[in-house]
């Protein structure tokens, strides 16, 4: 698998084949931020690790070319990160994102542009928040027959999580599908927010959103307890299931399990 290690806002190690072209634009002025451009030319995978030793800012731009399926795995660790992801998807391209944050503070902006027909983004994101985490998603269905599926699962351990997610489907964009599935398990008294927004100007679309903030369902806990599982272990099972479901990358899976062991065992 192609791999890139980013430390703070610069690439430290890179191991990629010719399926992906990379360009970095280092900041020239103090108010600018480092930007890395990725052009994905063939079906491929990429694992990006971003480790921040200090609070830093970064922008990553992805352009997935026509008829390409791109699997992107992102693991962020460290102190603090302000980051913007731009995903541009072209004709018949598929982007599968699987992402886990274990950064202390995060401010993240994700813009997905589905620019041509049959462009599809499947986005799975997990986090365990210890401080403040803000996520802002903008999903632009810029062509008819485009599909977006976003699933954000967060466990708020001692901070707060704010998720704003907006899907835009203009009048002429028929037969689009947009699906937002957001859930925060809040284990604190702190306020968490999910703002799901669907700007739909066309009747011929499929649009769903779910937003749930709270603890686990008491009936689920009761069900597990009827099997003889203690409340503590029932919680562990549910948190484990909540955080590892849909994760299809072993490195990310191991990191999540490591954190589950650290916080809940």
């Amino acid at each position: 698998m192609n791999k890139i290690i980013v430390v703070n806002d610069e690439i430290e190690k890179i191991s990629i084949n010719q399926d992906i072209k990379i360009e970095t634009h280092l900041k020239k002025m103090i108010f600018e931020i480092n930007t890395i451009d990725f052009e994905v030319k063939k079906n491929t995978d990429l694992f990006i690790t971003i480790d921040t030793k200090e609070e830093c800012k970064l922008q990553l731009n992805f352009n997935v070319l026509n008829n390409v399926t791109f699997n992107l795995y992102i693991l962020t660790t460290g102190c603090g990160l302000k980051i913007k992801y731009n995903y541009n998807l072209n004709l018949n391209s598929v982007l599968n994102v699987c992402k886990y944050n274990r950064v202390k503070t995060v401010k993240e902006m994700v813009v997905a542009n589905l620019n041509n027909e049959f462009a599809t983004i499947n986005y799975i994101f997990k986090t365990i928040a210890k401080q403040k985490e803000c996520y802002d998603y903008v999903i632009n269905h810029n062509s008819k027959n485009t599909i977006s599926y976003f699933k954000n699962n967060g466990v708020n351990l001692s901070g707060n999580i704010i998720i704003q997610i907006s899907s835009f489907i203009a009048k002429e964009m028929t037969d689009c599908i947009t699906n937002q599935n957001n859930q925060i398990i809040n284990l604190t008294e702190e306020k968490c927010e999910i703002r799901p927004i669907l700007y739909i100007d066309n009747n011929e679309v499929e649009a769903n959103h779910s937003a749930l903030i709270g603890d686990f369902d008491t009936e689920e806990l009761f069900y597990l307890q009827t099997m003889g599982i203690s409340i503590k272990n029932a919680y562990n099972l549910l948190i484990n299931g909540f955080l590892i479901s849909d994760i299809n990358n072993e490195a990310i899976l191991n990191k999540i399990k490591e954190d589950i062991d650290r916080y809940w065992r």
Binding site: E220, L224, Q225, M227, G228, I229, I231, N240, G241, S245
Partner: protein
Amino acid sequence: MDTLKIKDLSVSVLDKVILKDFNLEIKSGEIHVIMGPNGVGKSTLSKVIMGHDDYKIIKGEIYFNDVLLNDLKTDERARLGLFLGMQMPLEIEGVTNADMLRTAIHAKKKEEFKLFDFIKELENKVNELNLKSEMIHRGVNQGFSGGERKKNEILQMYMLKPKMLLLDEIDSGLDVDSLKTVGNEVFKYFNEYNPGILLVTHYKRLLEYIKPDFVHIMVDGKIIKTGDFSLVQEIEKNGYNEYKTKNVNSIGTCVVKEMINNE
């Protein structure tokens, strides 16, 4: 010999009395069926025995083998050997059947738990029940049909080997073939392990596979008549009209307040 004993049990939920002075004793090797109209407390009974938080015991005791269950947590009751088969088993995303069963059996056996033995037994049982082997790695009941959910409960029952089965309308939502499978499997388990069974059902058809020793008619939170299988036939023919009390609201808010005050 295991015995579940319910003595003068009164239970409320949201200030409404659901069970009132309820008495019942079930021993190993006995099959008790509770029948009755909707809303008389049949499902409540099994949840109360398992210690569901929504229900408050106003008075009375529940014993399992002389251990008072009233203050035990649900998982402690389950580890003593009680098992609740639910009317509509829940779907839990992300928690696999295998993980749930492994955790449950580990909690029960502790140091005696052996992972290899567990995997072998689980695989064998899945094959015996004609379940798809991949289902054990799927989320609990996730994407299962009604029949598959009930078969999954049978699998859980065989893996946990409980001494007392509380089966709450396990026939609901089953087609004829699934009903036969579930009924036969429960009766097979009964013959093999000799547990006590408390079965809640509305219909006679399940009782063609699980032959009851005692049939109880429950109305307004208490058993009002006990008989043998002939009582089921009578209910099939005449319904519950003659058993329904004239004043259905006799159990209610006023009564629970009065009972709490008298406590």
